[in-house]
């Protein structure tokens, strides 16, 4: 499975809402994501894609839309 689909799956599971229609919407501003969800995202990335992201690498402004998250994960994979 490719990265984009996996990340979207993780996000959909995590937020309980389908984000694929709003790939550039800020997930934190709209309240869909918070710190808790961020940590869950990092743990899922680790278990499902083997991508290790330390908490201090998580600069919120670089991870705040689905598109940015996918780009970030692709650069780290």
């Amino acid at each position: 499975m490719d990265i984009k689909a996996t990340v979207l799956d993780i996000l959909n599971d995590l937020t309980g809402s389908d984000v694929s229609g709003a790939m550039d919407d800020n997930l934190f501003d709209s309240g869909i994501m918070d710190s808790m969800a961020s940590v869950q995202l990092l743990l899922s990335l680790q278990s499902e894609l083997g991508v290790n992201v330390p908490v201090s690498e998580f600069e919120r402004s670089e991870w705040d839309t689905p598109n940015k998250i996918i780009a970030k994960v692709e650069s780290l994979a």
Partner: protein, 402 residues
């Protein structure tokens, strides 16, 4: 020799203006003189920590040497090793001086610790963060001189904002182009003037004129239910206004001065009184502190709890961590019942806030959302916050126990 509280009086600002002028001209021509920046940093540090406050100055120097040994030593160690217990030991050692300073007054009848100095908590945040990012491997090129500049950056040394090593380093190592710098200069000067309004007019009115009167009246109106009275409620609002204008004013000075020096120190306040809920309030109030707690305590603890599957439900993890996070913040303010209660209050408020947000998400159709509910949410949040500041102010300690 005279000592100056940072941004405390007109003389300080006059000296600041004179000292910054050559630096501004340099930056306008694309030059940053490390030597000159270091010299004025030392000059302003001596103004703050010299003269009658020389014992604080000595404490500062010893503290800095101590933290340098820890961070530098850990950076060297981390190149080839990565032991968990050693990392925890380093963090504990880095926090130890601050812990002593905070606990001493509680056990020594209010006596201040000898190793304390103005700004020790803010420096501790910077040092601990440097160790944590070194552990994560996100901070790879620890540089001793940059670390010293980062710790001793005089505009923010006494009370923040709390910058991050890597962000500071990127600014410090580069020179903004002229167009960008002119923009920063304009902003910096505007921040200073808004700061004057906040700190010397509004905070002066609420803090120096209004608060003592209300406090006296509140002390005279004791005897009712929980000694509550109208003057006490008035004190709550006046104290909240003073706290905001005083600290936001100081922060504007610190950020404004940084901008003039070509460093984009992050902002500390973002219209906090417009927050529709407590969670959002902490995204807008003392931002660099609350984000520090979010990134280095809350998220790390949640990560650890979830990785080791300590709690079954994510909501339990979040709730427990909220309480721990805010309790630590309470203790950080000082070991008194009212600071700790304040922390607990906000921990519980965040828990309740999350419960409500979950409920709202589930019952999207039945929960109304309009202008009126929005205004009500802002009103409720502001009043809850003011109530928490009433606890924080310590006046209840006087009203109840003195």
């Amino acid at each position: 020799m005279l000592t100056f509280e940072p941004y405390g009086n007109p003389t300080y600002f006059a000296l600041l203006g004179v000292a910054l002028l050559p630096l501004m001209i340099g930056l306008l021509y694309g030059k940053r003189s490390r030597l000159y920046e270091t010299l004025i940093s030392i000059f302003f540090l001596v103004l703050t920590f010299g003269g009658s406050k020389w014992t604080q100055g000595v404490a500062l120097i010893i503290y800095i040497l101590y933290e340098v040994v820890l961070t530098w030593g850990y950076a060297v160690y981390r190149k080839n090793h990565n032991s968990g217990p050693f990392f925890y030991l380093m963090v504990i050692l880095a926090i130890a001086p601050l812990t002593i300073v905070k606990v001493t007054p509680a056990v020594e009848n209010g006596q201040a610790s000898l190793i304390g100095f103005l700004g020790i908590s803010y420096l501790t945040f910077r040092a601990v963060q440097t160790i944590m990012e070194t552990r994560d491997g996100t901070l790879k090129n620890y540089n001793l001189m940059t670390f010293l500049q980062f710790m001793l950056f005089f505009p923010t040394i006494s009370s923040g904002p709390i910058d991050r090593y890597r962000r500071f380093e990127a600014d410090y190592r580069s020179v903004p182009d002229r167009e960008k710098y002119l923009g920063m200069l304009q902003k910096g000067i505007r921040y200073l003037f808004v700061g004057f309004l906040y700190k010397f007019i509004l905070a002066y009115y609420f803090g120096t004129i209004l608060m003592p009167k209300l406090q006296l009246m509140a002390m005279h109106s004791r005897g009712g239910f929980l000694d509550l009275s109208w003057p006490l409620i008035g004190y709550m609002y006046a104290y909240s206004a003073d706290l905001f204008f005083d600290f936001a004013g100081y922060s504007l000075f610190a950020v404004g001065t940084s901008y003039i020096m070509g460093i984009e120190t992050p902002m500390n306040f973002k219209q906090p009184w417009r927050s529709p809920n407590i969670k959002d309030f902490w995204n807008r109030w003392h931002i660099t502190l609350s984000f520090w707690f979010r990134d280095f305590i809350y998220m790390r603890l949640v990560f650890w709890f979830m990785k080791h599957k300590i709690f079954k439900k994510p909501t339990t993890t979040a709730n427990v961590t909220y309480i721990i996070n805010m309790l630590v913040m309470g203790f950080w303010h000082g070991v008194t019942w009212y600071y700790i209660t304040y922390g607990l209050f906000h921990g519980v408020a965040l828990m309740v806030n999350d419960m409500w947000l979950r409920y709202k998400k589930k019952h999207r159709q039945s929960v109304p959302h309009n202008h009126f509910t929005q205004i009500f949410a802002i009103f409720l949040t502001a009043n809850l916050v003011c109530f928490s500041f009433l606890i924080f102010s310590g006046i209840l300690d006087k009203v109840w126990f003195q």
